[in-house]
C-alpha cells in the first residue's frame, strides 16, 4: 500500500510536474545520487566494452535489477582486474571523492532508484540490440547519469508495432485499473515537450484539453480512467485546482461569455438556476426566496419594452442563450412570448398581438419536422390544434 501526493497534484495541476524537454522524466527515472568519479569515455577508449563492467545486464529481466559494478571495502571484483586498489585514502578518493578509509567505514552510498518501467535487458540482448542503441554516445560521457538512460523516442525506433509491440503497456507499468500508472513517489508521469507521440501536456493543459479529449478519447483512456475525469468534471464541490480564488464572486464574468468550461461540469437548468433561485436572483423561485430581479439587467424599459434598443434582451439571448438559462426557467418567457390562451398572460399584459414572436429566420421551413419529432415544447406556447401548429407560412 502506498499513498501518492495526488492531493498536492490536484492543487498544482497547472504546473508541469514532469522534467522538461531534452531531460528525463523524474517519474520514470527518479533522481539519483552518484557520489562517484568515473569516466566512461576513458574506459571505452582504453579498450573496455560495456560488458566488461555490466556483464549482469545480459541476464537481467527486470528494471529493478542493479547493473552497476558492485564492490566492498575489501574487494572490487569488477575493477580489480585492471586497477590496483589499495585501502588508503588516495586510492579510494580516485573514485569515491572525499572518502578516507582510515576514518570512515564506507563511502557514501549510491542512490539508484529503479526505473519505473517494464524492461528486460536480457530480451534486448538476445535480439542482438547493441547497448549504444539505447545508451548513446557513451564514449563522450564521463559519469553516466539519468541523462544516459533512453528516452521514449529511442524505444519507438523499434517498438513501432511491427518490429516490436507498440502498446503503452509493453514498457509502462499499469495501475490496478488496467490503465497506465501515472503517480509515482518521484512524481507524476505526464507527457512533456518533445513527447514522441505528440502528446505534450504543457502548462494549463487542464484548461484546454477539451478538443483533444473529444476527438481522441481512446488515446486519453490509455492513461486516464473515469475517476480522473471526475476529479474535476464533478459539479458538486468547488474544485480548488480549477476555479481561482474568489470564483463565486467572479463567475458571472465567465458565465456571461458562455465559456465552454462551464458546460463541461455544470448544467445551467439543474445547477446554476437552482442556486440562483436560492440566492434570491432567479425569477421563477418559490415565493419563500422572495426573489427580486433588479441586480442583473439594464433598466426594464430598454431591456424589455423598447424593441428599438440595442440593449434589448433579444440580442443578448440570440448571442448566448446560456447566459439567460443560468437564471431563468422557460416559464419566464411565456408571459410575453406565448400565444397559448391557457397561459393567458400576454393578453393580461396588453400586448397586441399577444405573444411576441421570438422564432429565428426561416423557422417555418423546418418547424413541421421538429413538431413531428417532439411537439411538447411547441405546445408550451401554442395550444394543441391551433393554426400556428400547422406550420404553414401565412
Amino acid at each position: 500500500m502506498r499513498v501518492r501526493a495526488w492531493a498536492l497534484g490536484c492543487l498544482c495541476a497547472c504546473v508541469a510536474l514532469a522534467a522538461q524537454a531534452g531531460e528525463r522524466s523524474l517519474a520514470i527515472y527518479p533522481a539519483q545520487e552518484l557520489p562517484l568519479r568515473f569516466d566512461h569515455g576513458q574506459h571505452l577508449a582504453d579498450g573496455a566494452d560495456c560488458l566488461t563492467c555490466h556483464d549482469s545486464a545480459r541476464k537481467s529481466t527486470q528494471a529493478a535489477d542493479r547493473l552497476v559494478p558492485v564492490g566492498s571495502a575489501a574487494e572490487h571484483p569488477t575493477c580489480d582486474p585492471c586497477h590496483e586498489i589499495r585501502n588508503d585514502a588516495a586510492t579510494c578518493a580516485q573514485c569515491h571523492p572525499g572518502f578516507d578509509a582510515t576514518v570512515q567505514k564506507a563511502p557514501e552510498a549510491l542512490v539508484l532508484p529503479r526505473a519505473e518501467l517494464v524492461f528486460s535487458h536480457r530480451a534486448h540482448f538476445e535480439r542482438h540490440i547493441a547497448c549504444e542503441t539505447c545508451h548513446e554516445a557513451m564514449a563522450q560521457v564521463g559519469l553516466a547519469t539519468r541523462m544516459q538512460l533512453p528516452k521514449m523516442k529511442a524505444c519507438l525506433g523499434c517498438h513501432d508495432g511491427t518490429t516490436a509491440p507498440a502498446e503503452c503497456r509493453t514498457c509502462h507499468l499499469r495501475a490496478p485499473t488496467g490503465r497506465l500508472q501515472l503517480q509515482f513517489t518521484s512524481g507524476l508521469l505526464r507527457p512533456m515537450a518533445g513527447n514522441p507521440l505528440g502528446l505534450d501536456h504543457g502548462p494549463r493543459f487542464e484548461f484546454g484539453h477539451g478538443t483533444r479529449a473529444k476527438l481522441d478519447r481512446s488515446t486519453c483512456m490509455q492513461c486516464h480512467g473515469e475517476s480522473e475525469c471526475e476529479k474535476c468534471h464533478n459539479g458538486t464541490q468547488k474544485p480548488l485546482s480549477v476555479h481561482p480564488n474568489d470564483f463565486i464572486a467572479l463567475h458571472p464574468i465567465e458565465a456571461r461569455t458562455g465559456s465552454l468550461k462551464c458546460d463541461s461540469c455544470h448544467r445551467y437548468q439543474s445547477f446554476c438556476a437552482a442556486c440562483h433561485e436560492r440566492a434570491g436572483i432567479g425569477l421563477s423561485a418559490a415565493a419563500f426566496f422572495r426573489s427580486r430581479n433588479v441586480r442583473i439587467h439594464p433598466n426594464y424599459e430598454t431591456w424589455v419594452n423598447d424593441v428599438h434598443s440595442p440593449e434589448h434582451h433579444s440580442i443578448r439571448a440570440s448571442r448566448n442563450i446560456q447566459e439567460c438559462i443560468g437564471c431563468h426557467r422557460q416559464e419566464d418567457c411565456l408571459p410575453c412570448h406565448s400565444v397559448n390562451p391557457a397561459n393567458g398572460i400576454p393578453q393580461r399584459l396588453g400586448y397586441s398581438p399577444p405573444g411576441v414572436d421570438p422564432h429565428p429566420a426561416s423557422f417555418l421551413d423546418g418547424c413541421l419536422h421538429m413538431l413531428r419529432n417532439n411537439p411538447r415544447p411547441c405546445q408550451l406556447c401554442h395550444a394543441a390544434g391551433s393554426k400556428e401548429l400547422q406550420c404553414v407560412k401565412p
Binding site: 510536474l17 488496467g178 458538486t236 461569455t257 437548468q269 416559464e331
Partner: protein, 454 residues
C-alpha cells in the same frame, strides 16, 4: 466483484481503493428581498465523500476489470425544507458516478454498467452496454445503448442532465402551476453507433449517430464526423463536425492543427459551437446564434526547469434575431456580432523540491474587460510528508453590463498537507478573498485522502 476481492483463493488480481473526504465551509452572498448593497449570507457547510474501487485482471492474464465510484454528500448549511423548494437541489444525497465492468481482447472491447462517454457531440453518462470492435486492418464499429443518466434517475448526478430543462417538474406539478412538463423526470433511452477507421497511415476517423427519446418523442438526434491525423512529433491535426438532425442544421465544428517540435509546439484551433440543448425545452428553438472561436498557442520549452507559453484567443458571438418572415424582425435594430479577444501568457518552473507557475490573461470586448493573474507555487519536505502550496489570484474587471462587479478582486489560498500514514494524507486549505464587493471573505477546506492498493 467484492467476493473476488476478499476470497482467500482469489485470482492474483490488482485492486485499488480510493477514499476522499472533502469539507468546504464558507458563506454565500444572497439577495432575498434585499438589494446589492445589503446581501444576506447563506452558510455553505458541505461535506462530500468519494469512494472509488477499481479491480483489474479478474481472470488470470485477461484484460478484465471494473471501475466504480460512489459519492455521498451533505450540505449542512441548506435546511432540507428549503431544498424541497428548489428544483434539482438536495441537502443530502448519494450518486453513483460510474460503475462498470470492462473486458478487452484483441480488437474487441465491451463495457457494461454506468459509464461515461465523451465525443464531439457531448459529455454524457448512461447505464447500459457499449461494444467496440476494430479489425486488424483498422476498420471497426462501436455501438452503445442504455438509459441516459439524469439527475432524476436512481443514484445519479445532474452533471449529465440534458440541458435546457429542469431535472423534474414534480414540485410545480404538485402546485398545479401552468406550463408544467410531467415527462421531464422520465427515463430517457438513448443509443448510438459509430463506424471507425483506426490508424490507417496515421489517420483515425469515425462517423457517428446518437438518438435519445423522452416519453415517446425525440429529445436528441445528432450525427457527427470526426477525423484525426498524427504520427508522433511533427504535424498533427484533428477535426469534427456535428449535425443536428432535428433542427436540420450544422451545430458544431472543431478543428485543431498542431506542430510539435522537440522544444516547441504551435497549436491553432477553430471552433463553431452552439449550446447542446434538449429539444424538450423551448430554449432549443431560440438558441439562434452560434459562437466562433479561434485559439493560437505557442509553447516553448528550452533545456532547464522553465517552460513558457503564449496563447491568443478570439471569439465572435453571432447575433441572429428573428427573420424577416417574423413579426418583430422589422423593428429590431441591426446589431453586428459581438467580439471578445485577448490572450494569455505563462511560465512554469519545476525544480526537484519546488514548483511554481505564473499565468496572466487579458480579454476585452463582449463580456467586459478582464485581467486575470494566477500565481501558484508548492514545495515539500521530509520525503513528501509535509507539503505546502499557495495560490494567489488577482482579477481586475470592468464590465458595463454588470457594474456591480467592477473592481479588483484578490484572493490568497494556502494549502498545507501532511501524510499521516503511507496510505493517508490530510490537507487543510485556507482561502481569503478581498474585494470591494464582499469586502473580506474567508473559506476553509478540508481534504482527507486514502489510497490502498493490493
Amino acid at each position: 466483484m467484492l467476493w473476488t476481492l476478499w476470497a482467500p483463493d482469489a485470482w492474483p488480481a490488482a485492486f485499488q481503493l480510493d477514499a476522499r473526504t472533502e469539507a468546504q465551509v464558507y458563506e454565500l452572498p444572497a439577495y432575498r428581498g434585499t438589494d446589492a448593497q445589503n446581501p444576506v449570507l447563506l452558510p455553505r457547510r458541505r461535506i462530500v465523500q468519494y469512494l472509488t474501487l477499481d479491480g483489474f485482471e479478474l481472470v488470470r492474464g485477461e484484460d478484465f476489470g471494473f471501475e466504480t465510484s460512489l459519492r455521498v454528500f451533505a450540505d449542512l448549511g441548506l435546511p432540507p425544507g428549503e431544498a424541497t423548494l428548489l428544483d434539482g437541489v438536495r441537502s443530502t444525497g448519494m450518486d453513483l458516478l460510474y460503475a462498470s465492468v470492462r473486458y478487452r481482447k484483441g480488437g474487441t472491447e465491451v463495457q457494461l454498467g454506468r459509464q461515461m462517454y465523451v465525443d464531439l457531440m457531448d459529455y454524457l453518462s448512461f447505464d447500459g452496454l457499449r461494444v467496440r470492435y476494430v479489425s486488424p486492418w483498422g476498420l471497426g464499429a462501436e455501438a452503445y445503448g442504455g438509459l441516459w443518466v439524469k439527475g432524476s434517475s436512481l443514484f445519479s448526478s445532474s452533471v449529465y442532465q440534458p440541458d435546457g430543462t429542469r431535472e423534474t417538474d414534480a414540485r410545480r406539478l404538485a402546485l398545479l402551476a401552468p406550463a408544467t412538463d410531467p415527462s421531464l423526470g422520465s427515463a430517457e433511452p438513448l443509443w448510438g453507433a459509430k463506424v471507425l477507421l483506426e490508424n490507417l497511415g496515421g489517420v483515425f476517423a469515425s462517423v457517428g449517430y446518437r438518438k435519445s427519446w423522452l416519453d415517446g418523442y425525440s429529445d436528441f438526434e445528432r450525427a457527427a464526423v470526426e477525423v484525426k491525423y498524427g504520427r508522433g512529433l511533427g504535424l498533427s491535426a484533428g477535426g469534427g463536425a456535428e449535425y443536428d438532425i432535428l433542427s436540420r442544421q450544422a451545430s458544431q465544428f472543431r478543428a485543431q492543427v498542431r506542430y510539435d517540435g522537440s522544444a516547441w509546439a504551435v497549436t491553432a484551433e477553430a471552433l463553431r459551437v452552439a449550446p447542446v440543448l434538449s429539444s424538450q425545452s423551448i430554449w432549443y428553438y431560440f438558441a439562434n446564434g452560434s459562437r466562433d472561436e479561434v485559439h493560437l498557442r505557442g509553447d516553448y520549452t528550452p533545456m532547464g526547469p522553465v517552460r513558457y507559453y503564449l496563447q491568443l484567443v478570439g471569439a465572435q458571438y453571432e447575433t441572429v434575431i428573428n427573420g424577416t418572415d417574423m413579426a418583430i424582425a422589422s423593428i429590431l435594430p441591426s446589431v453586428p456580432a459581438a467580439l471578445n479577444a485577448g490572450g494569455s501568457a505563462g511560465a512554469a518552473l519545476h525544480l526537484t523540491r519546488f514548483r511554481a507557475a505564473a499565468d496572466v490573461t487579458y480579454r476585452d470586448g463582449y463580456g467586459g474587460r478582464q485581467l486575470w493573474v494566477d500565481l501558484t507555487g508548492g514545495t515539500f519536505a521530509d520525503k513528501d510528508r509535509y507539503t505546502l502550496d499557495g495560490r494567489l489570484s488577482l482579477a481586475a474587471i470592468q464590465d458595463a453590463q454588470n457594474p456591480l462587479l467592477a473592481g479588483t478582486f484578490g484572493g490568497l489560498q494556502v494549502w498545507g498537507g501532511y501524510r499521516l500514514t503511507p496510505a493517508t494524507r490530510v490537507s487543510l486549505v485556507f482561502e481569503e478573498n478581498v474585494n470591494a464587493f464582499a469586502h473580506f471573505d474567508t473559506k476553509v477546506f478540508f481534504v482527507f485522502d486514502l489510497r490502498a492498493q493490493g
